[in-house]
């Protein structure tokens, strides 16, 4: 008899019809989005645009629910068209082209450097099984190191008692190039040493004890962040390299702009894209072609077997920590001219690192997911800062939630 009553419970019905749950969840999400949009539309006196956006949101739900790639693709194209129409309506055609191209270039630059930062985080997690909560702090400290080393190097170059001034002939552009190279390499080296040191002296004792590792790396995050706050002030202060102000040189080597009619790109951001590709390419080659790169990849798969083949896995762990922290330092340092150096970056970029790994899908030893995750995060931050500034700080989380509902394993992961 009890069997009979249970057969009709709603819980069982739901379990047997997962599609119903999916539709229900999406309807609720849709209603929430629609309500927000209607309120925003009424406040701004543009209910027509709000309705268009609700249609776009509904199409997104359709694209997510149907099991048909063609229909999904069509929905996404229509959504893109609606967004473009809304954007043109709000910002005019020229405005949209200017904003879109700027956010694309800046977003790509940010993405490439985020990718470098997160691949360090990902490597440490993949090989050592350590979730490095201090990684954002490494990135932040790398920024300050880059900033300080740049200013210190230019001071050396400008010192009349040293031979550098004669060597460069007071050519500030060349000085700036060299100071930048020194600052990028210096920040990388210092962070690699700090990361390697932290691994060698502390984390090394805690392999296999994940709770202790989390507490330890969280501790280092706070220590580094607090130290930065004591030295450079609270997160409200951002330090930029400004020729003639914070910097004594009268130029920053890539400080100019490229002008295409109405569209103005900062040269530095284009340089960052190339730098990101170059370092990423080098890393890719290193993992394919060098013995140590192959050993790291093999270690991500099966640590014990790598040891049984005669490799000291602990040495590899230290190397990976140095590499990961060095990459965080490098990306922090070269991003200073774009986002500045600030003690608040530690936490912000740690969270971005998590979002990128979650969105991309944690595929063991593969970087594709991380790369796409970084692209999504970098581009969406920049696009929203130009088009919907009030969403700039939360857009990545909205996108993360949507991706996780549609693909719980992330873009490249398995469900």
């Amino acid at each position: 008899m009890t069997m009979q009553t249970e057969r009709f419970s709603s819980h069982d019905y739901m379990e047997n019809h997962p599609q119903v749950i999916k539709i229900l969840v999406w309807t609720i999400v849709l209603i929430v989005i629609a309500a927000i949009l209607v309120v925003v539309g009424i406040v701004n006196n543009r209910l027509d645009l709000a309705i268009l956006l609700i249609v776009a949101a509904a199409l997104l739900v359709v694209a997510a629910i149907v099991n048909n790639r063609l229909v999904s693709a069509i929905c996404l194209i229509v959504i893109g068209a609606i967004l473009i129409v809304v954007a043109i309506d709000v910002y005019t055609l020229e405005g949209v082209i200017v904003k879109a191209s700027k956010s694309f270039v800046n977003g790509l630059a940010l993405s490439m450097l985020l990718f470098l930062m997160v691949s360090g985080f990902f490597l440490i997690f993949g090989l050592c099984d350590v979730i490095n909560f201090a990684h954002g702090a490494f990135f932040m400290l790398g920024g300050f190191m880059g900033f300080v080393i740049y200013l210190g190097t230019e001071a050396l170059f400008l010192d009349p008692n040293l031979p550098f001034l004669l060597l460069f002939g007071a050519n500030h552009y060349v000085m700036s190039v060299f100071a930048f190279i020194v600052s990028a390499l210096g920040a990388t080296a210092i962070m690699a040493l700090i990361g390697g040191g932290i691994e060698f002296f502390t984390i090394r004792r805690l392999y296999g004890n994940s709770i202790a590792q989390i507490l330890l790396t969280v501790g280092f995050m706070f220590i580094i962040t607090q130290a930065a706050e004591i030295i450079w002030g609270p997160p409200q202060f951002s330090y930029f390299i400004i020729p003639g102000s914070s910097s004594q040189l009268d130029t920053f080597f890539m400080g100019g702009v490229l002008v295409f009619g109405d569209i103005i790109f900062e040269t530095y951001n284009i340089f960052l894209i190339f730098l990101g590709f170059a370092v990423g390419g080098l890393m890719f080659l290193g993992f394919r072609k060098t013995r140590i790169g192959l050993q790291i990849q093999a270690g991500i798969e099966d640590k014990e077997m790598v040891e049984a083949l005669g490799t000291d896995i602990r040495k590899l762990f230290t190397i990976v920590f140095m590499l990961g922290a060095g990459l965080a330092g490098l990306s922090g340092a070269v991003l200073v001219p774009m986002i500045g150096a600030s003690s608040g970056h530690g936490l912000t970029y740690l969270i971005y690192a998590f979002v990128i790994v979650v969105v991309g899908g944690a595929h063991y030893g593969r970087f594709e997911g991380t790369f796409f995750g970084a692209l999504i995060v970098g581009l969406s931050i920049q696009f929203s800062s130009y088009f919907i500034p009030f969403l700039e700080n939360i857009i990545v989380f909205i996108i993360m939630v949507i991706i996780l509902i549609v693909k719980p394993g992330g873009l490249t992961g398995h469900e």
Partner: protein, 239 residues
């Protein structure tokens, strides 16, 4: 020095489980020694304790006259031990060639590896055809060839080979046994094998494990095969 490897009264715990309960055995130089026994009897654990993966809490392990019981795995292996694990454990994301490249130890010159590669191609001619293939996409037999080839990239004195014919078709298993037979001239072999009749031609020394102890040892495997009672009691196979 007659014995390449000696284990004296080794006691091994894995977590709180008492796995090896006083195992003593010797592996004579230049011969094949078989470890027999049911699943869970302690054969694989013996191999892993030689490798230092599960170091003995009591007793000692002596390799080439030198105690190795308390050394880390990579140092033990660098003394000249090659390991072919029971579940192959090849690196699936790397190509076959890359698997072999990282198997060459620091102390082994590239010339030696080239020579060893020739030996591998001689033993397993098929391997030439899939050197560039991702190891994860290989068939079981091909993966087993790779697992053996990996242990051959260095000039090892001792090869620990764990269940090499497991999951292979009879023909592949026979080819592999023939290959191991040829390897006898290059290294001493400690072999775990359930299917002891197929490997009986490799060597005569054997130890039978049961519940973490050695219950029987001998140097004439033909006698063992004839002893139906013993076989039924410890090896769980009837004819």
């Amino acid at each position: 020095m007659k014995n390449l490897l000696e284990i004296h009264d080794a006691h091994v715990y894995i977590g709180s489980f008492y796995i090896l309960q006083g195992v003593s055995l010797v592996v004579p130089k230049g011969e094949v020694t078989l470890l027999l026994g049911r699943n869970g009897a302690g054969k694989t654990t013996t191999m892993k304790s030689i490798l230092g993966i599960y170091p003995p809490s009591e007793g000692k392990i002596v390799f080439k006259g030198e105690e190795i019981s308390n050394l880390p795995t990579h140092k033990i292996v660098n003394k000249g031990i090659g390991y072919v694990p029971d579940t192959r454990r090849i690196f699936g994301t790397l190509t076959v060639e890359q698997n072999l490249i990282i198997s060459r130890r620091k102390g082994t010159s590239k010339d030696v590896m080239e020579e060893r590669l020739e030996l591998v191609f001689d033993l397993f001619p098929d391997m030439k055809g899939f050197m560039k293939q991702r190891a994860g996409t290989l068939s079981g037999g091909q993966q087993q060839m790779l697992a053996v080839a990996r242990a051959l990239m260095n000039e090892n004195d001792l090869l620990l080979i764990d269940e090499p014919t497991e999951g292979l078709s009879p023909l592949l298993a026979k080819n592999l046994i023939n290959a191991l037979d040829r390897l006898k001239e290059f290294a001493t072999i400690l072999l775990v094998e359930q299917n002891f009749r197929t490997v009986s031609k490799l060597g005569d020394n054997f130890y039978i494990f049961d519940n973490g102890k050695i219950v029987h040892e001998g140097d004439n495997i033909a006698e063992l095969i004839a002893d139906k009672e013993l076989v039924a009691q410890y090896l769980g196979v009837s004819i």
